[in-house]
Symmetry: C2
Subunit: 413 residues, 2 copies
Amino acid sequence: MEKNALYAQSGGVTSVINCSMYGVVVAALKSKEIDKVFGAKNGVSGLLKEELIDLTQEPRETIEMLKYTPGAALGSCRRKLKNEEDFNRLFEVFEAHNIKYFFYNGGNDSMDTAMKIHKMAQRLGYDLKVIGIPKTVDNDLMFTDHCPGYPSVARYTAISTFEATLDVRSMSYDSTKVFVMESMGRHAGWIAAASALLKKYEEEGPHIILFPELPFDKERLLNKVDEMIKKFGHCTIVASEGIKDEKGNFVSDMGTTDVFGNKQLGGAGLQIANIIKNELKLKVHTAIPDYLQRSARHLSSAIDVQEATAVGIKAVDLALKGDSGYMVTIERVSSEPYMWRLGKVGLDKVANQTKTLPEDFIDSERLMVSEKFIEYALPLVQSEDNIDRWKIPNHYTKFNWNMVQKKLPEFEL
Amino acid sequence: MEKNALYAQSGGVTSVINCSMYGVVVAALKSKEIDKVFGAKNGVSGLLKEELIDLTQEPRETIEMLKYTPGAALGSCRRKLKNEEDFNRLFEVFEAHNIKYFFYNGGNDSMDTAMKIHKMAQRLGYDLKVIGIPKTVDNDLMFTDHCPGYPSVARYTAISTFEATLDVRSMSYDSTKVFVMESMGRHAGWIAAASALLKKYEEEGPHIILFPELPFDKERLLNKVDEMIKKFGHCTIVASEGIKDEKGNFVSDMGTTDVFGNKQLGGAGLQIANIIKNELKLKVHTAIPDYLQRSARHLSSAIDVQEATAVGIKAVDLALKGDSGYMVTIERVSSEPYMWRLGKVGLDKVANQTKTLPEDFIDSERLMVSEKFIEYALPLVQSEDNIDRWKIPNHYTKFNWNMVQKKLPEFEL
């Protein structure tokens, strides 16, 4: 009887999540045990709706292009499995298509989903190997040195902050003196922290980082901005979107509504800019890279590309060895030179956990990273991925969406 | 007697303005007629204050690094010369330092300043050769095929828009369906237009461009968003920061003030996002790259790097041939293959003029560029500048700011 695998993508995307898909498909194609690899459209949503494509039937060229395609080529979803009915349906789909391997590529929510599916399989006595593949720009998964996707967004953030600081430095004499950049990271400051990875001297940007791990302290911020302006004439601030005040309210929610009663536009970055404009009467520019930071395949770290591919291959290897209920992890062997190996951790351990910046990754002044963070992150971001950036549109994966024949009745989501 | 040259930078910066400085310095060093090249700190402001550095005395390594340094290495300024007193002072500085050549690197305001200096020199009978060097990401200078700085920001905008559209495509099933990116360009839509340079098919981003040349039409926008969502499930909109309504009011000023009476945060991009959220009830993400777009040396077009350097060299050549009162221009010889030569135009013609997008560069539906624009811009952006992006911080110019000995009394700005 056929033994098929299923791969799906979930949650916010990265510039290298499709490298993991590439790893899964290539490893599965090489194996003798796996007959077909199906891809579910839009994560578990497509799975519930039995919307599958046969990745092993896709032209090899399409599969190769996954390496250059940011975002989730199969489509992602934010859905969690809700109830018994959802789980039952899932196993009907697995059974109908002889799915014996399930690879779920996502963050901590997705690892929770994968864990539940693994447990359900055990309960039902259904032979299913479930392996989670880590992915998140937020870098907030536990038990892995870092998450695929993070080195690339870190590289983007470091280079962009450095460049933009040279810009505001130019303008600061009689125009803009403060540049604020809002970075992603609702619960953890890993991305904001990465903005300092190219900084060598105090005068280089960023001059201030606002972490979501620490309560926002307006006076501390204003004093530091003032100090930097006096010292260097300009100041670059990187603010994590998730910064909160002492009461735990998001800074992005300050100001609340406009004259029409609509919620005030913009997030933490614009609020910080506004505070500085009002209190220090300085000209401020604000950048919100938003999706640009996590889709920037043109700046992906070569190590990230390699690792993201490797975790996909490893997921297949683990499943073929009979493992189930694990997430693939990246283990650091050494920082200098940077060396890594792959490992695994039980899904129950990583599910729904958030790894925030350790206290000793933030310096004593609480507005900058420590040397320890630099030692951690620097090896991940330095490697140049030599691609012709203009060729990206010729190199992105477009599936034909030739759907696998459905075998089950329709299912209402 | 010594014959010295003076170079200064002005206005908003680009990722390649220092390439023009590089061209000026190297050409001047090679010439026998020019003894020293001074750089004025912060444009005409530093010039008035007699704040000069001797670029010919800088280590060659510092000069070489100009090629990799975004922003204005000498500092820029927004200052215009105000009155007779300013002009008199300027010529005192010229005389005190034997300045016989003046190179001003900037946009249309700066060309106006350069023109006035040229005319004043003629009136005074002071032997001064004045040459303007074009620079602006806005691409709005007349009489030049395009402006150095534009090809790079165009490349950044095209690649970023394409990548982010693959991101929102991934998310659109049950999360974000609309992605809005705000581009620079207060008066002209050249940068916004460039977002379409990688688009080959209707489903690829951007799906909508909002140009400052056309009055903002809310119904037209909403209808098109609705159409794109129905057709492709997601929609990317690039909005120029300078879009205005029919009465000429900036869209960025809509909404006006918040509950505290402060001016509403954010510009055109956030206003457009808000309209779509409110009217179509769709989840929207917004990116405001701001300075990131114009300082992105990591994505500079190789042709832009070459041309920006060449216009600097040409400025010196013209001045040495005795020309004065001109701006260097780029003339297109052919689009396919792309070939160019340098020319010149009278400063009086370019000063204070703005070149907006021609009508036939916008398509008939008025929400997208035409094929003609693509033919114009595509040759400028495709070339990859093969630099190791992580090395940027090791390659940026840091002057020692060893100032030339002042010879005149202090001057109050």
